[in-house]
Symmetry: none
Subunit: 197 residues, 2 copies
Amino acid sequence: MSGAAPAPVESLIGARIAERRAELGITLERLAAATGFSKGYLSKIENSRKVPPIGSLSRIAAALRTDITQLLHTPAEAGEGGGLSVVRAGERRPVVRGGTAFGYDYVSLADNRRDKKMEPFLFTFPSQIDKYVFFEHDGEEFMFVLSGRVEWQAGSRRLVLEPGDSIYFDARLPHRGRALDGEATAVVVTYSPKPAE
Amino acid sequence: MSGAAPAPVESLIGARIAERRAELGITLERLAAATGFSKGYLSKIENSRKVPPIGSLSRIAAALRTDITQLLHTPAEAGEGGGLSVVRAGERRPVVRGGTAFGYDYVSLADNRRDKKMEPFLFTFPSQIDKYVFFEHDGEEFMFVLSGRVEWQAGSRRLVLEPGDSIYFDARLPHRGRALDGEATAVVVTYSPKPAE
DNA sequence: ACAGAAAGTTTCCCATTGGACAATATCCGT
DNA sequence: ACGGATATTGTCCAATGGGAAACTTTCTGT
């Protein structure tokens, strides 16, 4: 054995850094100044010619105002979308994938558009969840409660949200929610660095 | 130079690995066999005497059946309120910058968190806009109408949105909106590749 | 089109570090 | 105490992190 499978993580780091730097719109030179590394070295890293050790990667992440884990995960995404997508209150399409399987009902609010950065849903929390599972995925999530009271748990924090309350959190925190009385609905928008694939 | 600001991440990796290995109840030798590293080296890593490069850490993570990010993540994963921000309906902070200047009122729904990918707002559309200006910025935007009827214009398209309607569009399209009768409110979430700086 | 500047890439090089190996130390049970 | 198992440490060589600067490419402006 020991075929020396090249670590898959390493090859993606560079791309992620480059992508993030592009997002911030800063040059290699500025990043070099911010991190203390030479621009030549940073260039090599972005092209996967060199792999920085943890500490250095951490410094780079800090300069890019990101978390180190963000740079280790997912590859790049590209593309762009033009246009505009409307979902009328009456024309919502229920999302099938696992939807009710977990005890949740949710419908996409922009399913007729692909390659978008955010994923908006309308969530309906049931009063009871038999399969008491947590969600846990990459990216970030925003939720705005429309109706009902939601008992929400993210990480170790548990709180009750009422209509009009909103919450923003790192989606890697295991999270779940249930309606406290009857039913509850919320607008949920997720951002995921990972494209749909 | 090189005052060697010790990266905070590095010192925790070893502890996390040791902790995880203890969880699995396996010996250094077994881990050595699984990863291909010498047990001596692994010992040094656990005692923060050495810091493995990304690829090696990845192999270790695989052998421990964990994700590499778990090993980097601080051991205090449970407990802290980090990564989560709640804004109660009664505690919204109005956003000052330009808010009413454009004839719009809006409040941030996650202002106590920085470096986030999405920017959620609660928008209030007035019945009349004297300065009939367009918004036009980078990124993408999602809007969910809560109350009232909104005449919305994006690019060349003009449409009327009612409560429960939602729209997703490229924010580079010049866009604007106004309430048709009385007032209208909407949840707006924007994604912008470039943070404010 | 051309010159100059700015952003990015590559070459060369050395100081640092990864990581194996063997020796030593610690912790059991009998 | 002894023997066996697991963990730590010193030594050392090969590998690599990472700088300096030359080089190339892309963006200006005129």
